[in-house]
Symmetry: C2
């Protein structure tokens, strides 16, 4: 099982508009048929003790919110097809609309210790 | 649904020993009964195009490997209990054994846009 994980750090000033875009965007991602399902999570730093080993510093926490999407991928070739045929097209509108007011980080996670 | 996510960046020189410890560790985590299940993933940067929006820089990729564990949490109070009663005890052995040869980052992910 493979998860294509996208972490979006979203400035508070655009949060509502961005989340509306995101729901639409996840549907478009699924419509490519490169992913079998998707789950949207909100990072909740308040549930983590402040022990200095957290992912984001407190400056970021005061200005932005992080949303994490797990796209389940059926196979490596489905994921490749997404990058080759769909990624640029599906990412462009958010960059046009929100500019530097959000940041994206991406990871591919494969089940197991390889 | 809540995921307690731990990302471990592990230097190659300790990788085998560390992974043996990790399998044992995940079992000990589950034995606390604070989590309902756990999945271990390996980050596979080779499946991601090199477009400058990835989570780790290439220096890190040459010296270390990232492993991500998703611990499913039944409730916020189960997670609190883990932090209060178990976290220090379960984390200490790896710090003693591997020192600075691994780094941990932690996030709590809550299903949905909150």
């Amino acid at each position: 099982m493979i998860i294509y994980e996208v972490t979006l750090e979203i400035d508070f000033e655009i949060i509502e508009e961005f989340q509306n875009w995101l729901i639409e965007h996840v549907n478009e991602m699924l419509a490519t048929r490169c992913f079998t399902s998707a789950e949207i999570f909100t990072e909740t730093p308040k549930l983590l003790p402040a022990d200095g080993a957290n992912s984001r510093d407190s400056n970021h926490l005061n200005q932005s919110k992080a949303v994490v999407i797990h796209y389940k991928v059926g196979s490596e070739s489905d994921l490749n097809e997404y990058f080759l045929r769909h990624a640029s097209r599906l990412r462009a509108p958010a960059v046009r609309q929100f500019g530097a007011k959000f940041r994206a980080k991406r990871r591919v996670l494969k089940l197991g210790l390889s």
